[in-house]
């Protein structure tokens, strides 16, 4: 039987459309526990490839006959070997092209809305890492918000849409992934905006992102709303008076953590003010579009991650804490582990460190951990 090769774009369909899939993950146990392909319809078996070198007999019986089987490893090589061994035993299996490395870099573009003037708002869902980026396109112009380092995808997407990228924003200095903002701005001549409070050691030129900044993309208005708390400069955007891009302040089922720049105690007050006062003043009809999601169940059926602000006010765990001390405890104690290499990632996003592509990839390995619940 021939071994099939499955691309990340195909795996995304299983993950989003909840199609049954059986993943044989042949990475180390530690790696698997730390981070894997998520999906509500996915079943898993984790056995390191080196325990199968003598043969796959012991697992043959465990593999299901009624769902597709995908063998996954870190970079592809081991999963291909194991898939071939299974295939020689007559089993119909696929392996993941590029392994978890490729999965981590895959972005699924999802249209989240048509703008009043006929423009479009796209969300780029990084399924493997939980990062969300955005592109506002209107009348041949585009703005990119919270771009990941896979910059070609954004550049190609704008080109395909016949749009010129004029504005590039980062809602804050990211600590969990490397920003593609500066590279996109350099490639297109666009203006790169960053909150100056976060830019401590930034070594390149950028435009200061301040409260109330208004930028038009074609005929669509993008307005900055200062919303500190995850970082001291964190800024949200209201797009077309209809969408609220919250960055890492407010997620679908959780809120931002204030400690990634080492200031949990100082910033918890800011976080509370932003979530419980600043956002209260905005229209409840706004559709919240965060910069991250944590679990597949936050992903809507159409692949988007979006919910009305009014819904979040009544359902989001982080918005239900009336008592200030309780809130302080929630966001400063029992925090999840910090993201892999987050200090180096911050320095890279400030231009202080300039790691090569392979190192950047390794720095981003692992799950996203920007939220508290």
């Amino acid at each position: 039987m021939t071994v099939r090769i499955m691309k990340p774009v195909e795996v995304a369909r299983y993950s989003i459309d909840k199609k049954p899939l059986y993943i044989l993950d042949v990475r180390n146990e530690d790696a698997f526990v730390d981070w894997k392909i998520e999906g509500e319809s996915i079943e898993y078996l984790n056995i390191p490839y080196f325990d199968l070198l003598d043969g796959v007999d012991e697992i043959k019986g465990e593999l299901p006959k009624d769902r597709d089987i995908l063998v996954v490893c870190a970079k592809e090589g081991s999963s291909q070997m194991i898939a071939e061994m299974l295939s020689e035993e007559g089993m119909d299996v696929a392996y993941l092209e590029g392994g978890m490395k490729a999965w981590s870099e895959y972005l699924e573009p999802v249209k989240v809305g048509t703008l009043k003037s006929g423009g479009e708002l796209y969300q780029f869902v990084r399924l493997g890492k939980g990062c969300l980026s955005y592109m506002v396109i209107d009348a041949g112009k585009a703005a990119v918000i919270d771009a990941t380092r896979m910059t070609d995808l954004f550049l190609d997407f704008a080109k395909e849409k016949g749009a010129t990228i004029e504005h590039v924003f980062d809602t804050h200095l990211h600590a969990d992934h490397i920003s593609g903002g500066r590279v996109i701005a350099e490639a297109t001549g666009a203006t790169y905006y960053l909150p100056s409070q976060d830019a401590e050691e930034v070594v390149f030129d950028y435009h200061k992102l301040g409260d109330g900044l208004r930028v038009t993309v074609g005929k669509t208005l993008v307005e900055a709303v200062f919303s500190p708390g995850h970082t001291s400069g964190s800024t949200s955007f209201v797009v077309d008076e209809s969408y609220l891009l919250t960055g890492d302040i407010l997620f679908i089922d959780s809120i931002g953590r204030p400690d990634l720049a080492g200031m949990a105690d100082d910033w918890v007050g800011d976080l509370r003010t932003t979530l419980y006062n600043r956002y209260e003043q905005l229209s409840e009809e706004l559709v919240v579009l965060p910069a991250h999601f944590m679990e597949m169940k936050e992903v809507n059926a159409d692949g988007s991650v979006a919910k009305k602000l009014s819904t979040l006010f009544s359902e989001n765990h982080g918005l239900q804490v009336e008592d200030e001390n309780e809130f302080r405890e929630l966001v400063t104690e029992n925090l999840p582990p910090q993201p892999n290499a987050y200090q180096e990632i911050r320095k890279t996003n400030m231009g202080v460190l300039t790691p090569d592509a392979e190192t950047q990839r390794e720095m981003e390995i692992g799950p996203n951990r920007c939220a508290v619940r």
Partner: protein, 190 residues
């Protein structure tokens, strides 16, 4: 000096090949033999470690030199436990001590090839892989300074010597990597 260092060159090979080759190479060795695996695939460290644990070999450690990873494994020796270590002496203090007293007993536990590429003047050479057979050459009551590339293998050797009744052991940290670097720059003398 016996030449028993077993080296597997897996440089340039991507996963799963470093492990596939290591597994094959170790099959041809005797229990207790040390295998040094050279690799450039960064993922090989975690994999070698996990593979050794699941197949009963001792993972002695990994040292990095000019982008090449040197993994050290001891066949069928998973029972080697890294217990409480022996006292550590930092390299600077050690170098000063050597200056004052030329008769110190220094034992370099690295493999043959590494020792020949450069070692501390006057250092005895007893590779970790042969330590058991050559232990009797040493005096249990005198001060012994153990050194390797980084301090990892000398630490393991120290624990084993301590278990065999050696009393006054010191692990020189960091080891030869730093010494070689600094003597080239003229910062350290011995």
């Amino acid at each position: 000096m016996m030449e028993t260092a077993h080296i597997l060159d897996a440089k340039g090979l991507a996963c799963p090949m470093p492990i596939v080759r290591t597994r094959k190479a170790i099959q041809g060795l005797s229990p207790g033999d040390v295998l040094e695996v050279l690799a450039t695939d960064k993922g090989s460290t975690a994999d070698i470690k996990a593979w050794a644990a699941s197949s009963g070999h001792a993972y002695l450690g990994t040292e990095t030199e000019a982008d090449v990873l040197h993994h050290f494994l001891k066949k069928d020796s998973a029972q080697i436990e890294v217990k409480e270590g022996i006292p550590v002496m930092d390299l600077k203090t050690f170098v000063k001590k050597v200056d004052e007293d030329k008769s110190l007993t220094i034992v370099d536990v690295r493999e043959e090839r590494e020792y020949h590429e450069g070692h501390f003047p006057g250092a005895l050479h007893i590779p970790l892989s042969e330590k058991e057979s050559q232990m009797h050459e040493l005096n249990k009551s005198e001060d012994i300074y153990l050194i390797c590339q980084t301090g990892r293998r000398s630490g393991i050797a120290g624990i084993q010597l301590a278990e065999n009744g050696f009393k006054n052991l010191y692990n020189v940290v960091p080891g030869m990597t730093e010494w070689t670097k600094q003597t080239k720059k003229g910062e350290l003398k011995s």
